[in-house]
């Protein structure tokens, strides 16, 4: 176990960047760990793997990895990733993003990349708020959630990011929480192996930002909250229709896994039909 951790650290981490910017008990470190283990398990060539991100806490992750990284503008990571992938289809693209980056300012890019089905793995740290700017309301803040721009409690319906991804056409969608690191790692690995747009939403603690305003002051409170308020998809599927209707838990697990034509493969077909020697 520890030998494995050492292997991951030495192989993938950018030592010059430590210590990280993350707060105490932040869950983003767990997400990084899961992602690196998944990359290792998928046996990706790190020289041919490009990490792309937007703006926010989660978007700092590519900086901690010893690989090519592109830390872009707020919400736009997927557009840059699209350019890289289409320019060099042999590269693997991993996008790190957050709920505000992906679904707030970047919502349009998110749904269109899912629709186009361009091969990339989008890992979304969903911590229910804009952490870096000081815990403002985000598109996933639950109703009643207190953020610095919803001091009386949020009145807006939040996005279900995974449902949004499925609706937009993403062929692989999974939702996990950092309390399940092994399953999260496996989901990321599945996403990497998928030829197409893979979306992995990870519910992540933000005790210093969102948590302390919402009775989740400790990292442990979050993990217990995730555990109590989530239900595995396999168990959810076994519930009766009535039980499903009354179930207010977050369904986690692999939520979508379809075969769909991938963009660069389709484009290569199109090029081969029209190419002029």
């Amino acid at each position: 176990m520890f030998r494995k951790a050492k292997h991951i650290r030495e192989k993938y981490l950018e030592e010059n960047m430590w210590p990280s910017i993350f707060c105490q008990a932040c869950g983003i470190g767990t997400v990084l760990s899961c992602a690196l283990r998944a990359i290792d398990k998928a046996k990706l060539d790190i020289d041919q793997t490009i990490f792309v991100s937007g703006i926010g806490c989660s978007s700092r992750l590519p900086g901690y990895i010893n690989a090519d990284g592109l830390h872009t503008t707020h919400g736009r990571a997927i557009t840059f990733a699209t350019g890289i992938k289409l320019a060099r289809p042999e590269l693997k693209i991993i996008v790190f993003t957050g709920d505000g980056d992906l679904a707030g300012i970047g919502g349009n890019h998110f749904i269109h990349a899912a629709r186009r089905n361009i091969d990339m793995t989008v890992i979304c740290v969903n911590n229910y708020n804009y952490g870096m700017t000081g815990s403002q309301l985000s598109p996933t803040t639950p109703i009643g959630g207190v953020a610095t721009t919803s001091p009386y409690g949020n009145i807006e319906s939040p996005f279900d990011l995974s449902a949004l991804a499925i609706g937009a056409g993403a062929p692989y969608v999974a939702k996990w929480a950092t309390i399940y690191p092994h399953e999260t790692m496996l989901a990321i690995k599945d996403g990497i192996d998928k030829e197409g747009f893979a979306f992995i939403e990870i519910l992540t603690p933000c005790p210093v930002g969102y948590g302390r305003r919402n009775k989740l002051k400790q990292g442990k409170d979050y993990l217990l909250w995730f555990k109590k308020n989530s239900i595995a998809r396999s168990r959810y599927e076994k519930l009766s229709d009535e039980e499903k209707r009354s179930c207010d838990k977050i369904v986690i697990g692999k939520l979508n896994d379809l075969e769909k034509p991938e963009f660069t493969r389709e484009w290569s077909r199109l090029v081969d039909q029209h190419f002029v020697e």
Partner: protein, 412 residues
Amino acid sequence: MKKHRTSPTTDSRYKPARPFNADEFGRVRRILGGKVLFVQGDAAVAYGALLAGCRFFAGYPITPATETSEILSQLMPRVGGVCIQMEDEIASVGAIIGASRAGVKSMTATSGPGFSLMQENIGYAAMTETPCVIVDVQRSGPSTGQPTEGAQGDIMQAKWGSHGDYELIALSPSTVQECLDLTIEAFNLSETYGIPVILLTDGIIGHMREKVVLPEFEEIELTWRREPTKPKEEFQPFLVDSTKIPEMAIFGTGYHTYITGLTHSETGYPATDSQVDHHRLVQRLCDKIRDNRDRIVQVERDYSDGDKDTIGIVSYGVTSRSVNSAVKMLRQDGLKIDHLRLVTNWPFPEKEVAELSERANRIVVPELNLGQVYHGVREAVAGRSEVIPLWKTGGEMHVPHDIVELVKGGVK
């Protein structure tokens, strides 16, 4: 490496990052057909891009720039490149920056409303020193304005559109031939200096058909970014030599470069708390263009004999065409006219305008806006000559007579 699937391009002609050479150039020439074409400005831009080796285009439909997208959506598959219609203009610039960092010359084309959206990522390209070409087929603004009418209202925005301090290059073609030639030039400049280059055409030239002569491979020079000369362990992505222009490691070549829009040190990693690093970085972003302004700036002089007491006219882009006719008419009437045409809008040809002010007592500045290059001219002239604007909006070019009247009226 895991062999769970093959890359779609392993056995495919789809290879945007292919090396560009005489064979590739020849293939593009064959696809474009004859040596002499009769095409519109938007098409000439598309052809120029392909001849320059551009193999990635991302765009969003907008009048009067759409033809460039349409033509490249037809031609890119034929040359093994990519043309993608993005969800908006912000995404278009994001995509071309990504493609450029992955080693493919890339371009987008738009008009005013789209150009406004692009400013965010143009700033990112400037900060990260990523070569790319942005074509702005100007139309009347502000806002949606007159979609089908030409204008020259984005000159200031091209330079000052994104926040903070940076320099870039903007070029203004006056003919359809120049749309092609300056597109090639735009790629060369962006690759040489590691910056976004803006090609400022307009709705009139964009849709006007004219004769275009395609160049031969030997007739043009094509540049490519400097790739790393140091081994991977020693390479720092923003460490520069006396040129102040960094070498660029292409993604996927094993250099493990980290690129960010945050203030960064030579290593590429954030250095946002350092006043020294920030100042050094933005000063260099400006210096690498300012130091080379003599090499970059292009103007065309059509001056009268003698060296003083002339009447100067400073023009650029489509307006130069009206000025050319006006100059002929004015000279027939015996007036000494000096016409300075700015091919480069940014960096501003200050020195050239200042030289004109040594000859000309009065300088007329016709442009299709309510005063943009006028300000640059006044600054460069510094009171040595009288600067007289001739502004026009609404979508129509100046008729030569307008310019003649203004010049003559002032002579009385």
